[in-house]
């Protein structure tokens, strides 16, 4: 968000943030960050971040400054090639900014060890091709990796967490099925379950529904909404404005690596902004209190 937008958003979710520890519930509940001041800080922040993939290469992101309020659901919206995935990889720590800084819960990202960072920030990738046919339960259990040493094996407590996570996303009945035999939506839910087992408070998701049919899309969105209600911070990328409209509290609108707007969903998803971003006639209407984006024929 812009600084102002972030403040507003932070106010909106302040009650969630303060109660983080209680809201999650169960063993998979959100672990409170250390120190009250951290709870007040935005979950994620990019400050004057630019990124290029190599010397002389064009900038993929330029002067990006956004804040993501704790406990909010934020959509990073833009057309193909706008820099959404790069932004997500920067938030994940997979890429280092060429200039500027990334902050996680008020601390510079580079202050975290990789393991500590993965306990705070989890990833739900666009798709997760699994080379070997792990069962759904074995796959979800991989989320314990940040909590286990190099030579450790997961124990009964880890297994119980995985079973609980599968229950949360509605995959208990499929726990012995091989992951490659799942439908697209079920596979995405299994990936979300793995992120729950990881117990990260921030969830990054890259185009979570891009290859799913409407029924599976709804399944995944319901789970993401549930996570948002529980106080987890969710950031997802999408090229579909209606997906952003469906569940996001805030939207970051990207075009050619620059932030065009970053504010509440209603503020960003306007006819003028979207028409300018996508270079085509777009109308935004209200349906059941949510914006609905309709392209002109």
């Amino acid at each position: 968000m812009s600084a102002k937008g972030a403040d507003n958003a932070a106010d909106n979710v302040a009650h969630n943030a303060a109660d983080n520890a209680q809201i999650g519930g169960g063993a998979l509940g959100i672990a409170p960050a250390v120190g009250a001041w951290v709870v007040r800080a935005p979950a994620l922040a990019l400050r004057d971040v630019s990124f290029t993939y190599g010397p002389g290469a064009p900038a993929v992101l330029s002067d990006v400054s956004i804040e993501v309020a704790t406990g909010s659901i934020t959509a990073v919206l833009g057309s193909n090639g706008s820099g959404k995935t790069t932004l997500l990889r920067l938030l994940l720590g997979l890429l280092k900014p060429t200039t500027g800084t990334v902050e996680v819960e008020g601390r510079p990202q580079h202050d975290y060890s990789r393991r500590d960072l993965s306990r705070r920030v989890g990833l739900v990738p666009q798709s997760e091709p699994v080379a070997f046919e792990l069962s759904v339960l074995e796959f979800a259990l991989l989320g314990r990796a940040p909590h286990l040493g190099l030579l450790d094996q997961p124990g009964p407590a880890d297994r119980a967490l995985a079973i609980e996570a599968l229950d949360r996303v509605g995959l208990t009945a499929l726990q012995h099925r091989a992951v490659p035999t799942l439908s697209g939506g079920e596979a995405q839910l299994a990936t979300i379950a793995r992120a729950l087992v990881q117990q990260s408070v921030i969830l990054l998701s890259d185009e979570p529904t891009s290859h799913l049919d409407p029924a599976n899309t709804r399944l995944v969105l319901d789970v993401l909404r549930m996570l948002g209600r529980e106080g987890r911070t969710v950031v997802f990328t999408t090229h579909d404005p209606n997906l952003a409209a469906a569940i996001a509290d805030q939207v970051v609108l990207l075009k050619q690596g620059r932030v065009l707007a970053a504010a509440s969903t209603a503020e960003v998803l306007t006819t003028e902004r979207l028409s300018a971003t996508y270079g085509m006639g777009i109308e935004v209407i209200q349906l059941r209190g949510r914006p609905l984006v309709v392209p002109h024929s």
Partner: protein, 338 residues
């Protein structure tokens, strides 16, 4: 439906793992009794007490050979499973990354230029197996496209082709009456020359490597994910994969230096293991090690007892492995059609 396809009930998979371990125990006992003295195929247990030659044969030839087969099979099966998971490719084995071509080149070099003494051949084979892997790694680091796995695959192909060509040149230079047969025989692979001393040479390298791989078995599941996902789970995918590959290759180099090229074990055994106990490396890795030992032991039993002369072990493992692989491929095709 195989355990691999439906995922795997853990208790059933564990029972199967124990059954495989039991089968290995039986195979080892039977192998000790198999031979061509005093008569073909079976040596009666009583001969251990009454026949000094039989006792010597069993204790000083068969037992070290069985132990070498156990180390060889566990290493090839285990490292095959490890490499397949680390490279996220079920068609990879320890012949990958320039390891086997490196060992073949090292052995040929020692035969042609270093007099062909066994110690020189084994040392040179092990050294070039490791060098083959190191060269693959260094080249992979200089490739500027694709993810780490793709870069390493491409580098492995380049190094393997180069070393195979160099081995061909050595064969061309070799004395056709003495050196060339030695090279050919080494490449066919076998355990006919194994002694207690050989077992004691390779065991201190192989056993710690196998223990490390076994301890890291669950981590292999994480490393079989894409780099981005593994990173998000707190893993350093490049560094951890490298450690595991070096350990697997070190063990392979040690056994290959003594046994020559034994093909297909590392490729097919992990497939069988996954079908029996599922794909979770917590069970698939030990199952691959155990099944690798059973496979090598069985092939070696046939190699030394079927005929009056020795059948090269590598020839048998390749033949059986290729037949099995054909079965797997045809069965998959049928499954797709039906």
């Amino acid at each position: 439906m195989s355990a691999e396809r439906r995922g795997c009930d853990e208790r059933r998979a564990s029972r199967r793992l124990w059954a495989i371990a039991g089968l290995l125990f039986v195979c080892a006992l039977v192998s000790a009794a198999l031979g061509r003295y005093p008569g073909p195929f079976l040596t009666p247990p009583a001969a251990l007490f009454h026949d000094e030659l039989a006792r010597n044969l069993i204790l000083n030839l068969r037992v070290p050979r069985i132990l070498a087969a156990l180390l060889l099979g566990a290493t090839l099966g285990g490292s095959g499973a490890v490499l397949q998971m680390v490279f996220r490719n079920p068609l990879v084995d320890s012949g990958f990354l320039g390891v086997s071509p490196g060992a073949a080149f090292g052995a040929s070099l020692a035969i042609v230029f270093l007099g062909g003494a066994p110690a020189a051949v084994q040392g040179s084979a092990a050294a070039f197996a490791l060098l083959g892997m190191a060269a693959s790694y260094l080249i992979a680091q200089r490739i500027r496209f694709g993810d780490w796995v793709l870069r390493l695959v491409l580098a492995g192909i380049i190094v393997s082709a180069t070393l195979s060509s160099a081995t061909g040149a050595l064969k061309y230079l070799a004395d056709p009456l003495k050196q060339l047969p030695d090279i050919t025989f080494w490449m066919l692979g076998g355990l006919w020359a194994i002694t207690w001393r050989d077992v004691l040479h390779i065991a201190p390298v192989v056993l710690p490597c196998l223990v490390v791989l076994h301890l890291m078995r669950w981590r292999l599941n994480v490393l079989s994910l894409r780099d981005e996902t593994a990173f998000s789970l707190g893993v350093a995918p490049g560094r951890e994969r490298l450690v595991i590959v070096v350990v697997a290759v070190a063990a392979t180099a040690a056994v290959v230096s003594k046994a020559g090229q034994i093909g297909w074990v590392g490729l097919i055994v992990p497939h069988i293991a996954r079908r029996l106990v599922g794909s979770d490396a917590r069970r698939a890795l030990p199952a691959s090690m155990l099944l690798g030992t059973i496979f090598v032991l069985a092939c070696d039993d046939v190699a030394r007892t079927l005929l009056n002369g020795e059948i090269p072990l590598g020839l048998l493992t390749s033949f059986v492995g290729a037949l099995f692989f054909l079965g797997v491929v045809l069965r998959r095709q049928a499954a797709v059609r039906s």
